[in-house]
Subunit: 336 residues, 2 copies
């Protein structure tokens, strides 16, 4: 662990699927497991073939366990599809891909929850079995379901995202159940932790991954009132999303796909947003933006971006205002 | 279809797993699908990994669909175990073997039943998808659970049968839920069918497969009052069970493992019991016993035994009393 990480500092990271999971993995690499809590979107969750599907939770779990499929952005590596092949042969639905190993995890989770475990408790048990010590916390144990308002009507998330491959033009999102959902005990504990040193919004789709987390009240109010820094890593680089429909949705919603939009969207609680070196020019005119290498190709990239996040939080805590662009900070650290 | 089968005659067959399923397949081969109803034991059913397991129903379905594993007595041929391997790796239970294709069927059934289908309705839909037209009817859509009283205490069926491999000495069986379970609408319809020409007890374990069917009241009373013949095929040949623990249990229960015991056990409603050629000597002294080739090695053997059952019913209907031993009848037919 790099010496710059205070051993008594605890962190919370909010994340969705693939992009967020990569930074979550970086943070898990550089922080002791008992000092990091990942708060994960459940808006994509749905029931399929009687199984409770939690795409973001599982992507985070598989990524931290080192068993995620590197290229496809969901599911596990070295996966087989014998069950799904037979489901299809028997006339069942095969539009949502579930591998055999993935189904094993889903059956165990269903069994745990059938025996009374919360989703949070089931995730903890499964994480243990996959050798992941960092807590992966659903933002809530209640149902929150993302609905995409499109030109073709309101669509459940998976219909929009998987069945229709994000083709319909998005007009907005709403999060069914968020009004009544409660932050889990474990998430409240993480936010109330006196050792909390900062909160990181991972580079996940703001509309589909971060918004549904924030919609579970009073999370956004909590972040506004926090006395420690809250930073984000922009999922937008050079006007495009690294993965998924974020940039397409922004254009459809009449927004310019820019890192500044992320900073604007969360301006009520965000202290700084890390943007990629490619967008460094923006940081010159917008002091809320810090420059870092946010494109993560390797596990080392993830760890480095995690360190940059922690350094940014540390810097903001120490009162640098406006924060020093991360690029300068990186140079300083390199010189040490 | 052989000409001896009356096209307007309907039949009901009661059966459990492997042995019963073979004769059920024979009957399905020689009878039009709309003239045969299979009434199947659900006492072995249990919930495992959140899936509703119905071993006898599925053995019958897979056998009639021609996809049953020929040698092992459960599950499907050409099966893989990727899910179970991962369940084991994740610390889950692996003592009950479920293949990947088998899991696909279980997930579809769970989904159908989650949407409100009865077990009977789900089985019909699954049978259609596997190309099986003969109705495979759970004796009841309610829960009946076989409990084995052993020297080591009362054991749920699967614990006794699979986990402990029938090792504990059996002292008796009871069928939890049978007192309140209702015969399904479809089973009642089959028994009330004016075209009903006879009922066949397939060669299944009397204690573990036939008794729990009969325990669902008022099935046994119905059989007693039936005006058409009820016959059985003995699962005991030469003092041993073809498969499973029937002979061992009979010995433990202080009974002589003999075809006559089967005839005695169901004497209140049984008109005749078909026993194997190997036991032909018994038929000379016990006129309730008819001789046939009850050992089924091939699909042709199954069809032949089915024809022998139908011929025995026909003969009893026509008033032969005591019935002519099947061996004589077989000779007569061969001479035609």
């Amino acid at each position: 662990m790099p010496s710059m990480v205070r051993s008594d500092a605890h962190y919370v990271a909010l994340c969705g699927g693939v992009g967020g999971a990569k930074l979550a993995d970086g943070l898990a690499q550089v922080l002791p497991a008992d000092t990091l809590r990942l708060v994960v979107n459940v808006g994509d969750d749905f029931s399929h073939l009687s199984l409770g599907i939690s795409p973001d939770l599982d992507t985070v779990l598989y990524t931290l366990a080192g068993v995620a499929h590197a290229a496809q952005g969901w599911g596990r590596e070295a996966e087989s599809f014998a069950v799904l092949d037979e489901v299809k042969r028997l006339g069942g639905p095969d539009w949502f891909l579930l591998g055999d190993k993935d189904i094993a995890l889903h059956l165990l989770r269903l069994t745990m929850m059938g025996a009374g475990a919360t989703l949070t408790q089931a995730m903890r048990a499964l994480a243990e079995r996959l050798g992941v010590a960092t807590p992966i916390l659903p933002v809530t144990d209640d149902d929150v379901r993302t609905i995409i308002e499109t030109d073709g009507g309101a669509l459940p998330f998976q219909t929009y995202f998987v069945r229709l491959r994000c083709a319909p033009a998005a007009r907005g999102c709403r999060f069914e159940g968020a009004e009544t959902a409660q932050l889990s005990h474990e998430v409240l504990q993480a936010l109330d932790d006196p050792a909390l040193a900062g909160v990181i919004l991972c580079p996940s789709n703001p509309y589909l991954s971060i918004d549904p987390i924030l919609a579970v009240r009073p999370l956004r109010e909590r972040l506004r009132r926090l006395e420690v820094p809250v930073i984000a890593v922009s999922p937008i680089i050079g006007g495009r999303a690294i993965k998924g429909p974020a940039a397409k949705m922004m254009t459809e919603l009449g927004l310019d796909p820019s890192p500044a939009v992320i900073a604007d969207r969360y301006a009520d609680f965000l202290d700084a947003t890390l943007i990629d070196e490619e967008d460094a020019a923006l940081a010159a005119v917008d002091k809320r933006l810090l420059v870092a290498k946010t494109m993560m190709h390797t596990r080392q990239d993830r760890a480095q971006l995690a360190r940059d996040c922690l350094a940014a939080i540390d810097m903001i805590t120490k009162g640098a205002s406006p924060p020093i662009p991360a690029r300068d900070r990186n140079v300083q650290r390199t010189e040490k």
